[in-house]
Symmetry: C2
Subunit: 475 residues, 2 copies
């Protein structure tokens, strides 16, 4: 079953356009694709006529051209008729927004069985039912939320697949945009009656040249699909990430009523994911941090050599003792190691720092250059630490409120990292007035995070990435 027409159609049609309610899902989808997106979009309404000045067709077989994909947003009981029309007219793909299938009892389950049969017999890639839609910028957006209400992420390299439409649109879209992670395609899979995580992994891994990282939010694997999924993931040239909801006892109960799927045993699942080279962030923030870092590393010009980070041996470079302490606390949580700095090295470090800071600085790890540090000191230390082989990664905690740090500090750090190529991750508080520092780091693709924990998570991601890519024979 080919998903290309589902995600990259030239022409789509939308059924379920209400005349009376401008907020009905079908009408929202129709109007946004006509007015905002690149795809060519037809509207279907049994009575024809027009809406917002756009002609509507009475039936699918009256369209000037057979569309590549049909979006159905009508009451459940009428949906199968439309899927049958797809079969008759050779429309190769279909997204069913409508709820009222396996998630709502016996009648719904039977309806879903019939849907599966028509789709399978006729090789129609059916997404859903009970889903939010698809967002493939700048081509298509069949997410039924009004565009002005949601926040959409930019174009990028992450295929984002979610079993919960709400989580996709709220948790992920908004945060992706906020921290500038881009998507190639975002998919709400709903009941995944036909198109499921295995087919999606295969498509994004092998058939979509725009995708380099594939992230799933799942509340459990589809029955009998976990093995196939894991085997595909292991072979994939893309990084595959899964983030699971509903793994706690209370979460499991919730999941059953939400998507009728049973989550597996947490520990067994984690072990399997590790074995099959799937990144498995345990928290939402960790997923976001990983994706941000992975996207940076898809750039042809990598900011540093990420494969150096094998064991997770870190030096923390701070301008505040307390920040160093908090960061060191977190290394444990993420199975990273603080590199011990020898007495000889500490002696050499004294000359790298300005005389005022020299007497109060700490040269053991975490290094604390104190509030008297200057730009040049930070530059000196990154350069010095970069040349120590057993240092795999530097975490720089930038606190621009210290008086002697200039707003040039970002550019200076970016330059020395780009030159030395030692993996370096920066923390800087997210405050608008520090924007130029953040921007100068990001322009050089140096990863910048706005909490200490995210910076530590990013190093953990580097370590896990090295393991996976080594086993996959990639870089």
């Amino acid at each position: 079953m080919d998903l290309t027409k589902l995600f990259k159609p030239e022409t789509i049609a939308v059924a379920g356009i209400s005349r009376s309610n401008p907020l009905s899902p079908g009408r929202v989808i129709f109007i946004k694709n006509v007015f905002e997106m690149d795809v060519f979009c037809y509207g279907i309404h049994p009575e024809g006529g027009e809406i917002e000045g756009i002609k509507l067709y009475k039936r699918l077989d009256q369209l000037p051209k057979i569309p590549d994909s049909l979006v159905v947003a009508i009451p459940a009981k009428y949906t199968l008729d439309y899927v049958q029309q797809c079969a008759d007219l050779h429309i190769p793909s279909c997204t069913i927004i409508s709820g009222g299938f396996a998630e709502v009892g016996k009648e719904g389950r039977e309806r879903q069985e019939k849907l599966i049969k028509i789709a399978t017999d006729n090789d129609i890639a059916v997404l859903g039912p009970n889903c939010l839609g698809v967002y493939t910028p700048p081509l298509m957006d069949t997410i039924f939320m009004p565009t002005e209400r949601i926040t959409r992420p930019p174009k990028g390299t992450v295929a984002l697949i979610s079993q919960s439409g709400g989580v996709l649109v709220d948790q992920f879209f908004h945060k992706f945009k906020q921290i500038n992670i881009g998507v190639s395609t975002a998919v709400s899979i709903g009941n995944r009656a036909v198109v499921d995580e295995v087919m999606l992994l295969d498509y994004f891994s092998n058939k979509d040249p725009d995708t380099y990282n594939i992230a799933f939010y799942l509340e459990g694997f589809k029955e009998n699909k976990s093995r196939e999924f894991l085997q595909l993931a292991k072979k994939s040239e893309d990084m595959v990430l899964t983030y699971f909801g509903g793994l706690s006892d209370k979460g499991k109960q919730a999941t059953m009523s939400h998507t009728a799927s049973i989550s597996g045993n947490d520990e067994i699942l984690s072990a399997a994911l590790k074995q099959y080279l799937v990144m498995h962030p345990r928290k939402e923030m960790e997923l976001l941090t990983s994706l941000k870092l992975l996207e940076i590393l898809t750039h042809r010009k990598k900011p540093f050599d990420p494969m150096i980070v094998k064991e997770g041996n870190v030096v923390i470079l701070s301008l505040s003792g307390g920040h160093g302490v908090i960061c060191a606390d977190l290394l444990d949580d993420y199975k990273l190691n603080a590199v011990e700095i020898t007495d000889d090295e500490q002696q050499q470090m004294i000359d790298l720092v300005n005389p005022t800071a020299r007497n109060i600085a700490t040269f053991s790890n975490p290094i604390d250059l104190t509030g008297s540090a200057q730009d040049k000191d930070i530059e000196n230390f990154i350069e010095y630490l970069s040349k120590i082989d057993r240092v795999e990664c530097i975490i720089v905690l930038i606190l621009p409120y210290t008086p002697s740090i200039s707003f040039q500090v970002g550019r200076r750090i970016a330059n020395v990292v780009s030159r030395e190529k030692k993996p370096t991750v920066c923390f800087i508080p997210y405050i608008e007035k520090y924007g130029s520092i953040i921007e100068s780091l990001e322009l050089s693709n140096i990863p910048v995070f706005h909490s200490i924990e995210e910076a530590v998570q990013a190093v953990s991601t580097l370590k896990i990435r090295t393991r996976i890519n080594t086993l996959k024979g990639q870089k």
Copy 2:
């Protein structure tokens, strides 16, 4: 030792004003108190003259009036002379910004011993050394960072005391401002040679009418001070919170070089804090969430009756199944319980929701009203759930991207909560365009958080607060 003059002086003097470096700590402190703050501020410079148009005095004994407090920001070796002058002139308090004491070896330790002796013999409340300063809005700000570089929290009810100046100014100031937590006073305690956590707890608890919540960032208690601290905390009418850094193995190493204090055993510490009725958030986000909630509950007009939350029995009300699942997962982590909704209640709920959502909604806990929910449905459910006695708290997950939710939804939730008085905590994504919804909730003091985990943490805070206040005989 009375700390009133240290934190609420009428007049201060600053020593250590550089003529050549406008960013030197003493000069920054002098200028900001002269130009920005309410306190009357004298400058001391051995050569007199003026700086930025303001007259400087050559010596402390030449000031027109004996100040209530002296701020010293000069090299360590000259500091003791100034403290002696405080003794001679009966200046009752002094803040020593300068480093170069116990944190830097034998000579420094000896200097600190001498400092303690002068202060104790003459009853001078000495803050520091090696500290950042004090911020008591709108009176005084002796934090030596230029105001335009940092972000300061508004005036409020939290006394914020930090062993790390960097953590105070960066982590806390910035985030307090961001989520609108106000401080009565913020204190960087540095080496806490004289003024320590016990004296501070006593002062803020018993002598400062502006403080209702007292939050400490510590990297361990001062030697032999833990028992006294805990006993004071148990008697305090204010809520006392401690957040510890440096408790992990790696963190402990870092702490030793940072503040030369040894952290206690983590588990024993936690048990002791619980026994002595101290809130003990384990993560920075949890501290912030707790403080935000506690500050809301200091308002004379409380939004609901917080003491209802005894066991932590929660109903989750969501517009997205996935959000409900994530939230239910988190209840476990925070020792909260999902209230089971009976079949009878579920039957009654059917009539509370509009016909479109009715067929696809889930009425077990977490309740999912789906993307078809309307404002009125949410209002109906909060009202209905409020009347169920065994429901102690409602978590409402507001997703304003769903088409039928209006921007009135915040006001409508605020009204029904204010009327029913059932503890209710809201999650809503932090997006500027949702501002009016957030604002209408906050105007009625309904707690609003911008991640699901924070909403769950807030309920956990309510439960802990109920326990502590019950044992203290407070409400």
